[in-house]
């Protein structure tokens, strides 16, 4: 009697109860998904439909000390492609190849960018010309994922003249992506690669904005704007530098195309970098948006190494410019006074042990005081001073003067000078063996030869101490509080005497040809062996490091001409730079205040 109404009623109640329970269970599940997990699913649905098109932030404008523009942004175009899959990207690139020129290498680069971040539009042309853009716009409808974006593009109005300082920007590479992962860099972004652009990347970068485009399940762009409020990019704050663009261009003009070498001009009290140039230079504008291969090759193949920054990376024996270091060490140690003569007068050389050490002047200088020896750059005097100081103090003193340290200039990849470590005996024992060297190394070190190679910028730093009170200023490209370090302690009479001797170099001594009318210029020439020979004779690096005016220095200039012959050539260039600066620069601009 299973179909007795009572039985059926009972089963009806059971069935209704089961239905209600199922209903409540389903409703509960929907409640969990739609209400409790709502936020998570909204996020997923937004991720589904929105693609972020990056809006590059304009990089910070870089100004010189007077507000002239060193680096700015001009309107450019970026062409990129949004694709659901790699094969469809390749297909789209192939079709695109029918409209605009794309070679295989470029296609592969686009695919690589895509692989790094498939949800970001893969950049095809980082810097597309207006013609190319208008061509693409005509065919827009054929390429659904194509995104043409007005993008600020880096521009250096003075091009090669500022390349040594400002560097250049370029697309971020794999290594940088990995090492800078924490800073939120994404594939396809531009990043400072050298110079100020690299050093101050954080300040110059700005914050990228985002334009949201809506895509469907096949990554077709269905809505270009208004899918969600765009996030506008934050332009970076401008960067004010200490550069004197006028002087910088003057320096570059002197070097021209023929001279190789480097020049650094500093404000002695503050370390402000007024000019810094490495010749030959390159055109940083050609690096923007991808450097053309042939230009890159020509730079790499050039024996004059235009991509190396000789002012901060080139290391050259300082030669006679180092004699001031020897003099300072001797004076500081109380081993010599400015008017002290050495036992052996210069007769064009001297015997030391079983070796004869020549003075550069075969005719000999006779018996000289220290001041006169500096003026005449007499090697024999400094040989004797070197032995008197001794190798230990010569090395320790050189280190104290910064001979083993980077100048600390705010530019990337500065090289550390080459100089022995202290204590000197251990260094030479390690290097040559206990019996492999003699105290004769002091003679070489005393005249800036031997185990001593300095960067141009580091020599300039040393001379800021000579130009002031024994405190060296860290060279600073970008405006910052001065950072000075006392590297030696001499009384004011000794300082004045040294400066007088350096002035004598230019007025009567080795650089007498480089006198400037109306300005007392102080400095030291240097002629250092380069190890390279031409026609049987060794080529020399020509140095001059000096400052002016001698009694109240406003500028320190270090000039080094690679294989440039005698230091007098460098002195000539340095004098021109100083003359230009002091004469062309009204005094108020010499102040250290901001514009």
């Amino acid at each position: 009697m299973s179909f007795h109404p009572n039985d059926v009623q009972r089963r009806g109640r059971v069935a209704s109860g089961l239905l209600a329970a199922t209903f409540l269970f389903l409703l509960g599940s929907f409640f969990r998904t739609q209400i409790l997990q709502h936020a998570q699913y909204v996020l997923q649905s937004e991720e589904n439909r929105l693609r972020e098109v990056p809006l590059a932030a304009p990089r910070g404008v870089i100004y010189d000390r007077r507000g002239a523009i060193i680096a700015e942004n001009v309107p450019g175009y970026t062409v990129s492609l949004l694709s659901p899959r790699e094969d469809s990207l390749r297909a789209a690139l192939k079709r695109l190849g029918g409209t605009v020129p794309i070679n295989d290498a470029e296609s592969d680069a686009v695919v690589r960018r895509y692989r790094r971040n498939p949800n970001r539009p893969a950049v095809i042309f980082a810097d597309a010309s207006f013609d190319l853009v208008s061509q693409l716009e005509e065919h827009r409808i054929e390429f659904p994922g194509l995104i043409i974006q007005a993008t600020p593009k880096r521009y250096y109005p003075d091009g090669a003249a500022v390349a040594s300082l400002v560097g250049y920007t370029g697309e971020i590479n794999e290594g940088e992506l990995v090492s800078l992962a924490a800073q939120g860099y994404k594939a396809g972004q531009q990043i400072g690669k050298a110079g100020i652009e690299k050093q101050y990347e954080k300040r110059l970068r700005g914050r990228e904005g985002v334009r949201f485009v809506e895509v469907d399940a096949r990554n077709r762009v269905v809505k270009e704007a208004g899918a969600r409020q765009d996030i506008s990019p934050d332009p970076a704050q401008p960067l004010y530098t200490n550069i004197d663009l006028d002087l910088q261009k003057f320096v570059v003009g002197i070097f021209g195309d023929s001279l190789e070498g480097a020049a650094v001009a500093l404000e002695p009290r503050t370390g402000e970098v007024l000019a810094l140039h490495s010749a030959p230079s390159f055109d940083p504008n050609r690096f923007i948006g991808g450097i053309p291969l042939d230009y890159w090759r020509s730079l790499m193949d050039d024996p004059r190494r235009p991509l190396a920054n000789k002012a901060i990376q080139g290391r050259y024996p300082p030669g006679s410019t180092w004699k001031l270091a020897t003099a300072v060490i001797g004076l500081q140690e109380g081993l010599v006074k400015l008017d002290d003569h050495m036992p052996v007068p210069c007769t064009g050389g001297m015997q030391y042990g079983n070796r004869y050490f020549k003075c550069y002047d075969k005719r000999g200088h006779g018996s000289l005081s220290l001041s006169e020896a500096i003026e005449k750059s007499c090697d024999v005097y400094f040989y004797q001073l070197g032995t008197k100081i001794g190798i230990m103090k010569l090395v320790a003193g050189g280190i104290a003067l910064g001979g083993r340290e980077r100048s600390g200039i705010d530019l990337p990849a500065e090289m550390r000078p080459i100089f022995p470590t202290a204590p000197a005996t251990e260094y030479f024992n390690r290097r040559y063996g206990v019996r492999g060297w003699s105290s004769a190394v002091s003679l070489n070190l005393a005249i800036g030869q031997g185990e001593n190679s300095q960067t141009v910028v580091n020599m300039a730093r040393f001379y800021t101490a000579l130009a002031t009170d024994g405190s060296a200023a860290r060279p600073q490209v970008v405006r910052a509080p001065p950072d000075r370090e006392r590297i030696f302690q001499l009384d004011s009479v000794q300082m004045a005497g040294l400066r007088a001797a350096l002035a004598g170099v230019v007025s009567r001594g080795t650089a007498a040809a480089s006198r400037i009318q109306g300005i007392v210029l102080a400095g030291k020439t240097g002629t250092a062996q380069s190890g390279r020979f031409k026609g049987g004779a060794e080529l020399n690096h020509a140095w001059f490091v000096g400052f002016a005016p001698a009694d109240d220095p406003k500028i320190v200039v270090a000039v080094m001409l690679e294989f440039g012959g005698h230091g007098t050539r460098a002195a000539h260039i340095a004098a021109k730079i100083i003359e230009h600066y002091l004469k062309a620069t009204p005094q108020q601009f010499l102040s250290t205040d901001g514009p």
Binding site: S16, F30, Q34, I35, H38, Y41, N48, D216
Partner: protein
């Protein structure tokens, strides 16, 4: 001849509400950013609803006795059609490899399995209703098992896993309604449970001990007890072999059911996108026709199998509650009709029809939330599809008749 049938208005109004809701959702499903064929399908769906209502009217006219008489030929016809389908059937849409469609001259004219469900319900009601006592042992179940088994086998050969599940659901629901005791139902279902649990030795072992206890307590015939126990052993052992026999896509679907995140781009993609659509709806949804998951084609089969996520995305939890409540009220009304019917055949027929819908709703809606495996069975009154809409309304028509006769408010002999 004049027929006077007191229409069960709550039933008809609920079915009409669900159908209107459904057509609206089919319309919305067509509103995509990139227009597709789906855009205009709601016209067809509207036509199918109209046709369905007409069919329901016709179905409400013959008396229950006629249905009782027609059960056998309808069932036989359904089996024959399903058999023929194995040779001439065509696939369609997402299930292109199956043979569930009947096509004449290249024109797909329908899915006979939808109407076969009604035929099977009719036949089961006839067979179970004819018994004086409910089946008390396995041997008593051979008739209903055969009635469901034959078309079930034919459908599984298409293969159409979803419809197969529906048949199993109908079978158990109607056994329950005929008064088969719970322990026997469990014993019958036990081999299938073993099959599912076979993948975990521990779980299967626990289930097997439970089953042994049930067998000792229920005390079936010795032969049956041994049969059930051995069937469970075989299933437990055979399951891995059966697994090997499954089509890769079936394997994948089962696996993805267990963990959809393992395969976000293929089968799991459907479930994840469905959940994203539903979850992003929140309380009130993104607005009618404005669902982004649907509009931008992230939602698969948004007008057929996955139409319910469109409800969830665009109308939110409120819309889901309304839809599910309409279903619940409809089902409760039908259970009432079944409980009030005058004779076993009518009662079983009513319950069979409502359990068909119930299984569809449970599996389809459950699937959208990853509570059920993706089997691709449609949602009654919602999913786009002519045969199914027609079958649903035919069911409504039969239920109207059953309701009227149960209340003694229909002419007894009308044709």
């Amino acid at each position: 001849m004049k027929a006077r049938v007191a229409t069960d208005w709550p039933l008809v109004l609920l079915a009409l509400s669900l159908s209107s809701f459904g057509v609206s959702m089919v319309f919305s499903a067509g509103q995509t950013d990139v227009p597709t064929l789906v855009t205009h399908l709601w016209h067809n769906q509207l036509a199918w609803v109209a046709l369905g209502i007409a069919a329901a009217y016709l179905a409400s006219r013959p008396s229950v006795r006629f249905l009782d008489w027609a059960a056998t030929p309808a069932y036989a016809g359904a089996c024959v059609v399903l058999l023929i389908l194995l040779f001439v059937g065509k696939g369609a849409g997402t299930a292109a490899s199956t043979k569930s469609w009947l096509a004449i001259g290249g024109m797909r004219i329908g899915q006979p399995s939808e109407l076969a469900k009604i035929a099977v319900v009719l036949m089961l009601a006839k067979v179970l209703g004819a018994r004086k006592q409910p089946p008390k042992s396995l041997i008593d179940l051979w008739q209903p098992a055969l009635v469901v088994g034959v078309p079930w086998l034919l459908i599984m050969l298409q293969p159409d896993l979803g419809t197969g599940i529906v048949f199993v659901g109908i079978f158990f629901a109607m056994l329950f309604w005929s008064g088969v005791s719970w322990p026997l139902l469990v014993l019958v279902a036990s081999p299938a449970v073993s099959l599912v649990l076979a993948f975990s030795t521990g779980l299967w072992g626990a289930w097997f001990l439970l089953l042994l206890g049930l067998v000792l307590w229920y005390k079936p015939y010795i032969v049956e007890g041994v049969l059930i126990v051995s069937a469970n052993v075989v299933m437990g052992v055979v399951a891995p072999i059966v697994w090997e026999k499954l089509n890769p896509y079936q394997q994948r679907r089962l696996l993805v059911f267990l963990d959809p995140s393992t395969d976000p781009q293929r089968s799991g993609y459907h479930v994840i996108q469905s959940q994203v659509a539903i979850g992003s709806g929140g309380w009130l949804g993104k607005g009618f026709t404005l669902g982004t998951q649907k509009r931008l084609a992230f939602l698969p089969a948004q007008h057929t199998d996955f139409i319910f996520p469109v409800v969830g995305e665009e109308l939110g939890f409120i819309g889901v509650t309304v839809a599910l409540t309409l279903f619940l009220l409809l089902f409760l009304r039908c259970v009432r009709i079944a409980a009030r019917s005058a004779d076993p055949f009518s009662s079983l027929l009513a319950f069979g029809l409502v359990s068909t819908w119930f299984v569809h709703v449970l599996v389809n809606v459950g699937m959208t939330l990853n509570l059920m495996p993706i089997t691709g069975i449609p949602l009654p009154f919602f999913s786009y599809g002519g045969s199914f809409m027609l079958a649903c309304w035919l069911g409504v028509g039969i239920l109207v008749r059953l309701s009227a006769e149960g209340r003694g408010r229909a002419d007894s002999l009308v044709i």
